[in-house]
């Protein structure tokens, strides 16, 4: 595995988006993962629609039929991938633009720009997460966002952080040497794309520490999924 890796340097990450006042983070995480997978499959960056997932995806967790994707009221990335397998795929952002509100489904199958071939859940293991990231593209992950409300920049590595997952984001890379001034040493980190606009965090991104002595900080390793795409234009 390379020491540092960032899919932004390889063209597999679309622009930072803004979910607005809507609990649709899960749809941005899922669409971001498919944007990356589709780029790997086709060599072309297609910016994909989250509103299609918000409006049309009501897929339920197979083990809990009353826990279903529900637009601005929340959802799960793996359920979204399951919906995409059944529905055929995602339209482009420009064909099905984001409104930040729940709406009726206006999915047009003839406008599908990216399709899911398969998706997988990655083991809670940082080496495996890094390997899947490098091999398959950006990964949809869950995180505990307690420290993100006040985050401005740097490598987040809270001494205490819950592992209850409440936010869906996109893992796009990792670095070996983020400097942590209070600890006088270099600290490896994950690079995470968020969906709260460019005027949040580090131009829309969040860095959180990784490594054997801080593993699974804020639950970041515990819900990781990868998706592969078949291309259709």
């Amino acid at each position: 595995l390379p020491e540092d890796f960032d899919w932004r340097d390889h063209g597999a990450v679309g622009p930072v988006k803004n979910q607005g006042s809507c609990g649709s983070c899960w749809s941005f995480s899922a669409s971001g993962a498919l944007e990356g997978a589709n780029y790997l499959a086709s060599g072309k960056m297609e910016v994909l629609s989250e509103q299609q997932l918000v409006d049309c995806d009501h897929e339920c967790d197979p083990s809990e039929p009353d826990s279903c994707d529900a637009g601005c009221n929340g959802g799960l990335m793996t359920s979204a991938f399951s919906y995409l397998l059944k529905s055929g795929g995602l339209e482009r952002e420009k064909d099905y633009p984001y409104t930040g509100k729940d709406g009726t489904c206006k999915f047009d199958k003839s406008k599908i720009a990216a399709s899911v071939q398969n998706y997988s859940v990655v083991a809670v293991d940082e080496e495996q997460i890094a390997a899947n990231l490098v091999k398959y593209g950006p990964l949809a992950i869950g995180i505990n966002a307690a420290y993100m409300q006040t985050y401005i920049g740097g490598v987040s590595c809270p001494y205490i952080c819950g592992r209850h997952l409440d936010h869906g984001v996109l893992l796009v890379g990792y670095g070996a040497s983020g400097f942590a001034p209070s600890r006088f040493k270099e600290k490896p980190y994950w690079i995470i794309k968020n969906s709260w606009g460019e005027n949040w965090g580090d131009k829309g991104y969040y860095k959180i520490c990784r490594g054997s002595n801080v593993r699974n900080k804020c639950g970041v390793d515990s819900m990781v999924s990868t998706v592969s795409a078949t291309h259709s234009s």
Partner: protein, 114 residues
């Protein structure tokens, strides 16, 4: 394995005890993020939430010294409002345990050496 945190124990007056300074920071926050509030009552409420969030940001800074914490566009929201409005991952304990325990969609183990 972590080194102990070196903590400043002497210093000047706490800026978070200075209401004038906090009011001025709130005015800057409102302008910077283009915030508008319904009426004076709402404005006063958001100011009190903002002050509480500055204290929270300071606590986060102490607990998370390698990051920078402070005023963000969410500084006028209570933690509950923030969770309700901007977080939306629907995980349940059962689905979490199921994913931990393995499922039909488990990714194959990849080689990571060499």
């Amino acid at each position: 394995d972590e080194e102990p945190l070196i903590r400043q124990v002497v210093g000047g007056a706490d800026p978070l005890d200075n209401d004038l300074e906090l009011d001025s920071q709130f005015v800057g926050f409102v302008q910077r993020f283009g915030k508008t509030y319904r009426d004076a009552e709402e404005h006063a409420h958001r100011l009190s939430v903002f002050k509480a969030n500055l204290r929270r940001a300071r606590r986060h800074q102490l607990l998370d010294p390698s990051a920078e914490h402070g005023v963000t566009k969410f500084s006028d929201l209570t933690p509950a409002e923030f969770r309700r409005t901007y977080l939306g991952l629907k995980t349940t304990r059962r689905s979490f345990l199921r994913e931990m325990a393995g499922s039909a969609h488990d990714a194959p183990v990849l080689p990571t050496d060499g």
